[in-house]
């Protein structure tokens, strides 16, 4: 089976190559590009299932299931060596399924969505390239290879966000995404170095391979301080890639890319890379409770913070973007608590319903002829029924209504928060739990606000647009339906044992990423009580949203005024974070380098000094010139003076 492992990433690469060639030379027809792109990812998906099946067999015979396939030695410099190798264990297996599965559905969807886009082949080339890079990241056997995939996905998101590059705004968003990702990668890189040299101090020549690291850390040979710095630096990389508090600014702007891109990259796969990396290195993070607490707190903070911004956005994709940031916050919260399987479980379910929501919004935008502002939508329920129903189901899932996949995963995280293990999380569990629940309620509110404003009430989009609205073609609707079904049914994967489920995913992942033992503070009965209470609150919020946005639309304006407008304006303008970053970092950097560095240092000081020397030499030579007066007796006189001087010297000596 190891032989086929390399086929999984290489197939999309092959697809990207062919489509890329097609894009350059225009040789391939739309149909050909279409087939290549989708079949390539489809086969990858099938192979992924086979791999998981193989892992299941291995697990069956006991022992930690793992498939490793080394192809060649990539870099070898002295004692440091990196080989191009792939590692698939249950954790990677799950991610594989998500990336190829959801990826395949989105590929099919994009054939419809991008149907009349001139750069059709280039789009699919980039999407395939992205799948290759993501698979490399997931299956990379050592941290360097993971880093290659890490930057590869950053590159593809840059290419795809700025896909319609003729619009400078979109191109700028692409660049912003890449640069912010690069800041994160800077942290990741430093983390690698600290780890490598930390091990070197202990006399271990590690090749940064995950399997190797696991043994070394197992033999707890590394000092605590090194591990904490490594974990925090790697977490900086994760915040860059998965858009957490400090480095999330690029994700909302990334909505400038085509919607399937947002669905694939900025909802399902790339942004989850950070969560995957931390659970992949769970053995490292478990060594440093401080790092884990930082991850948990940042996760919780982001969850709440992004949800507040989501409340007031009017662009359908922006709302979903902030909701993604918030849901990622939940995943990091889970992983920070040590509940790695809960984090991954939420990652999977989030991939389903968020991809469905994004594709749904894509269908809406498609239907509305490119219109993205929900204030000009409304009453689309009748016009695009399929989109409406899939969108509604996904919204119910994300809200965490009982029985849906969202409920299963989010509740799992909240339970983990409640039962936080004190020696792994230094922050009180109930605080994280309350932040989580508040976030969940906010999520419910803004999601249903979105649904009511878009699909209910009367159409606010102007007469001619009204009869233009039409249902999307089958190629777009089918993936929507599949995803909607998955987001409802997906929860069965890991039914918590409170509801006497068998937690299959949890056990499946226990080998690769063992979770932290939970400390039951509240007791069984109270837990169920809290769960029920949360459900009631959720239903209440749905009703509140219904009343505010449908029954009497005046309420939102009045509420905004009542709240004094400040929190509203703050939230609407996303706490002016972009402007702060701009004034604090970007603009000063430009002015410093323009005025100070180039203007003064380079031109004036360095160049000035050299040209100055040239001027001094010219002036000196001019001065000497004047001595040659041309008067003969002047010269004779200087001879006489010279002679007298010598004589005097001879006389004196």
């Amino acid at each position: 089976m190891e032989k086929y492992l390399w086929a999984i990433p290489l197939l999309p690469l092959l697809g990207a190559g062919i489509n890329g060639f097609g894009a350059l030379t225009g040789a391939l027809s739309r149909r050909a590009v279409n087939i290549i792109a989708c079949t390539v990812v489809g086969i990858a998906f099938v192979l992924a299932c086979l791999v998981n099946w193989e892992l299941a067999q291995q697990a069956g015979h006991g022992g930690a299931p793992q498939l490793v396939s080394t192809w060649f030695e990539w870099i070898a410099a002295g004692s440091f060596s990196v080989d191009a190798a792939l590692l698939v264990d249950p954790l990677a297996g799950v991610m594989l399924l998500v990336v190829t599965g959801v990826g395949f559905l989105i590929h099919v969807y994009s054939t419809g969505y991008m149907a009349h886009d001139p750069a059709y082949a280039r789009y699919f080339a980039f999407i395939n390239l992205f799948t290759f890079a993501m698979l490399l990241l997931v299956m990379g056997e050592n941290l360097v290879l993971m880093f290659v995939g890490w930057e590869g996905v950053g590159l593809c998101s840059y290419l795809l966000i700025g896909f319609w590059f003729t619009d400078t705004e979109k191109a700028y968003a692409g660049k912003k995404a890449f640069v912010v990702n690069r800041v994160g990668d800077f942290g990741f890189l430093l983390g690698l170095f600290v780890l490598y040299w930390g091990l070197k101090e202990q006399g271990i020549d590690a090749t940064l391979s995950i399997v190797g690291l696991r043994e070394i850390v197992g033999a707890n040979a590394i000092s605590g301080a090194v591990i904490t710095t490594v974990c925090l630096l790697l977490f900086v990389g994760a915040t860059g890639k998965s858009a957490q508090i400090p480095l999330y600014v690029w994700l909302p702007d990334a909505m400038a890319g085509p919607t399937p891109v947002s669905a694939l990259i900025h909802a399902a796969t790339m942004v989850t890379a950070g969560v995957y990396m931390i659970s992949r290195l769970s053995f490292l993070y478990l060594q440093s409770p401080l790092a884990m607490t930082v991850v948990a707190c940042v996760g919780a903070a982001t969850a709440l913070y992004a949800a507040t911004i989501g409340l007031t956005q009017f662009d359908i994709k922006k709302v979903l973007a902030y909701s993604t940031v918030s849901q990622l916050g939940y995943m990091f919260l889970a992983v920070g608590l040590g509940a790695f399987s809960a984090g991954i479980f939420h990652l999977v379910t989030h991939a389903f319903f968020k991809a469905c929501l994004f594709l749904g919004s894509g269908a809406v935008i498609h239907a509305m002829g490119g219109e993205q502002d929900i204030r000009r939508m409304g009453g689309l329920r009748a016009k695009i029924p399929y989109t409406y129903w899939t969108f509604l189901l996904a919204t119910i899932a994300i809200a965490g209504v009982f029985g849906t996949s969202g409920f299963m995963s989010k509740d799992e995280i909240l339970a983990a928060a409640l039962a936080a293990n004190p020696d792994y999380t230094l922050v009180p569990g109930w605080l994280l739990y309350s932040i989580g629940t508040l976030g969940a309620l906010l999520t419910t509110f803004y999601m249903f606000r979105l649904v009511f404003l878009t699909f209910f009430g009367d159409f606010r989009g102007g007469k001619d647009l009204e009869h233009h609205v039409h249902e999307s073609p089958w190629s777009m609707v089918v993936p929507l339906i599949v995803l909607a079904a998955l987001s409802i049914v997906g929860g069965l994967m890991n039914v918590p044992e409170i509801l006497h489920g068998d937690e299959r995913l949890h056990h499946w992942l226990s080998g690769a990423a063992p979770s932290v033992a939970r400390v039951d503070v509240v007791g069984h009965g109270a837990e169920i009580g809290l769960m029920v209470a949360l459900q009631v609150l959720i239903l209440g919020t749905i009703a509140l949203a219904y009343r505010m946005y449908l029954k009497s639309p005046a309420i939102p304006q009045r509420a905004a005024k009542v709240l004094g407008g400040v929190p509203y304006r703050l939230s609407y303008h996303k706490y002016y974070v972009d402007e702060i970053y701009d004034t604090l970092i970007v603009r000063p950097l430009h002015s410093i380098s323009r005025v100070f560095l180039w203007g003064n240092v380079d031109v004036k000081i360095v160049d000035g000094s050299i040209n100055g020397m040239a001027r001094v030499v010219r002036y000196a030579s001019d001065l000497l010139g004047r001595l040659q007066t041309g008067q003969l007796n002047g010269y004779a006189f200087s001879i006489v003076v010279g002679m007298v001087a010598i004589l005097a010297y001879v006389a004196v000596k």
């Binding site: 040659q628 007066t629 007796n633």
Partner: protein
């Protein structure tokens, strides 16, 4: 008996006079004459040492010095004539083509 020091003092005085003339005077001809004077001063000291050392070489050197002086005077005067034709003056101050 006339000792060599007398002669050397005479030569020094003559040499100094010639040098002063060269520096002070404006007229090229006078300057050339002063040069001749300086050459003669040198001849005196040559002869003095020849006499004192009793070797004939001093006289031969004087002979050569005179030959050179003659050549120098010839060419110098030719230059003066050429200068005069061109600048119609012999005054050194007006001739500063070699200005830096």
């Amino acid at each position: 008996m006339v000792s060599t020091s007398h002669l050397l003092i005479l030569s020094a005085v003559l040499f100094a006079l010639g040098m002063a003339g060269v520096v002070i005077r404006r007229n090229v001809i006078i300057v050339m004459m002063c040069i001749e004077l300086m050459l003669n001063a040198v001849n005196v000291s040559f002869v003095a040492f020849a006499r004192q050392l009793g070797s004939i070489d001093g006289h031969i050197i004087v002979f050569f010095v005179m030959a050179v002086a003659a050549a120098e005077a010839g060419v110098g005067l030719a230059l003066v004539i050429a200068m005069f034709r061109h600048k119609s003056t012999v005054n050194l101050d007006h001739v500063n083509l070699m200005k830096g």
